[in-house]
């Protein structure tokens, strides 16, 4: 398969074009160098200033969407230790987290002295989402370029659940573990606006509501939340504007007791379901759902091209996939 000679994007990636040197349009237009470094430094400074201004002496400063994976574990440590924030970790347990991920979450939050909320999703919800994702695309084409339908469903649920929780508890920031390049730099520190959040929520809620029905409502904002416009938090992705090196991230979180799970696939450090979600996605769309993210990490110099390719071509654990398929089989069979 032909791939970009600089990053790893394949010829099957929607809309990709290569120049005569075999370089994709994303690499051709990638901005790097001093201006990016300067913008990251400015964002770090602005975030620190906002955090100081918005600090809640009697509550939480920041709600962290905490998956238990390496990036969000590091994010929690970064906020608590380097920014001196008082975070609240929020986990959406989809029922398919690696047992090691659950251990890791406990170790990291205990080591940092961070409070931790876990919302466990009934497996029937995941079963219905999985069943539909096999039959037809659950989300817009662009959304499914960033990740598998199952992954994007969980991300959608946790995103709006985090917003809901932050508004209810008057927490001024919601932090996500976006890696550099995953989201445009200008979008890594913004104050959420009710009208836009309402429109964004509709795009996530409606496809899930069509599949799952009323059971998804508690994960999303209600009218009473939209009426509390002054409580809408900043959305922030500190990893995207902080120095990001895998070896430093691992050293930091391992010092908190975090251990890499051995039962997840090459692209996840918390969720077992990822491997099955990836397989469904590849079968339907003919590209790996991590293509975009890994190409971004290669472009940023965080992964070498060879490391990126290794993650994209790593084998699947057939036994694990079989077990997952069994667990997700419709209960009416």
């Amino acid at each position: 398969m032909k791939r970009c000679r600089q990053c790893t994007l394949p010829e099957t990636y929607p809309g990709i074009t290569f120049d005569t040197q075999g370089v994709c349009q994303f690499c051709r237009t990638y901005g790097e160098g001093e201006s990016i470094r300067q913008r990251r430094a400015t964002l770090r400074e602005r975030f620190a200033q906002l955090l100081a201004t918005e600090r809640r002496p009697n509550g939480y400063d920041c709600l962290v969407a905490y998956s238990g994976g390496k990036d969000s574990s590091y994010l929690l440590a970064l906020l608590a230790r380097e920014y001196g924030a008082r975070p609240l970790a929020l986990t959406l347990d989809n029922g398919f987290l690696s047992p090691q991920a659950l251990v890791n979450m406990d170790r990291v939050t205990q080591s940092l002295g961070v409070d931790h909320l876990i919302i466990k999703v009934p497996v029937e919800i995941m079963r219905q989402i999985y069943a539909r994702s096999q039959r037809q695309p659950l989300f817009a084409a662009k959304t499914l370029q960033r990740g598998s339908a199952i992954c994007m469903a969980c991300i959608g649920l946790v995103k709006f659940l985090a917003l809901r929780c932050a508004i209810e508890r008057q927490i001024p920031f919601v932090a996500f573990g976006w890696s550099p390049g995953q989201v445009p730099l200008s979008g890594t520190l913004i104050k959420s606006q009710p009208a836009m959040i309402r429109a964004m929520q509709r795009a996530t809620f409606e496809p899930l509501y069509a599949v799952v029905g009323e059971a998804v409502r508690p994960y999303f904002l209600e009218e009473r939340h939209f009426r509390a416009a002054d409580r809408f938090p900043y959305l922030v992705g500190p990893l995207a504007f902080s120095p990001y090196r895998e070896d430093r991230i691992m050293a930091s979180i391992e010092s908190l007791g975090w251990k890499r799970p051995t039962d997840t696939d090459a692209n996840s450090s918390n969720c077992l379901l990822n491997s099955l979600a990836n397989r469904v996605h590849k079968r339907q769309f003919h590209f790996h759902p991590y293509e975009f993210e890994i190409a971004g990490l290669v472009r940023e110099g965080i992964l070498s091209r060879e490391e990126g390719l290794a993650r994209l071509t790593a084998g699947e654990d057939a036994q694990l996939i079989h077990r997952l398929e069994e667990r997700l089989r419709p209960s009416t069979d």
Partner: protein
């Protein structure tokens, strides 16, 4: 100016969100039609800032400003008027 902005915006949407010209009108809500998603909004904002050199504040990120091609063009126009000659200069510097 308006037609040039519209051309650049439509081209960005087609190329970045993988839709065809005939898939959306200038009045269509791109969020309702699921052409753009939440991350797509951030990509659109980054594009407008870069392409037209306009500052976009957090409070500007609303459907009223960004949810259709018509609204985006009007928004770019308003922002450009606040910074004379910027948008024209930026737009004309780039190849169509």
């Amino acid at each position: 100016m308006v037609s040039e902005v519209k051309h650049l915006v439509r081209r960005f949407i087609c190329e970045n969100f993988i839709v065809r010209e005939e898939d959306f009108t200038d009045d269509d809500s791109m969020l309702e039609k699921q052409i753009i998603d939440s991350t797509g909004v951030l990509e659109l904002v980054a594009f407008l800032q870069e392409q037209f050199g306009i500052p976009i504040a957090d409070e500007d990120i609303t459907p009223d400003n960004l949810d259709s091609v018509e609204r985006i063009c009007a928004f770019v126009q308003r922002k450009s008027n606040a910074i004379p000659s910027t948008a024209m200069a930026m737009a004309s510097r780039r190849t169509l």
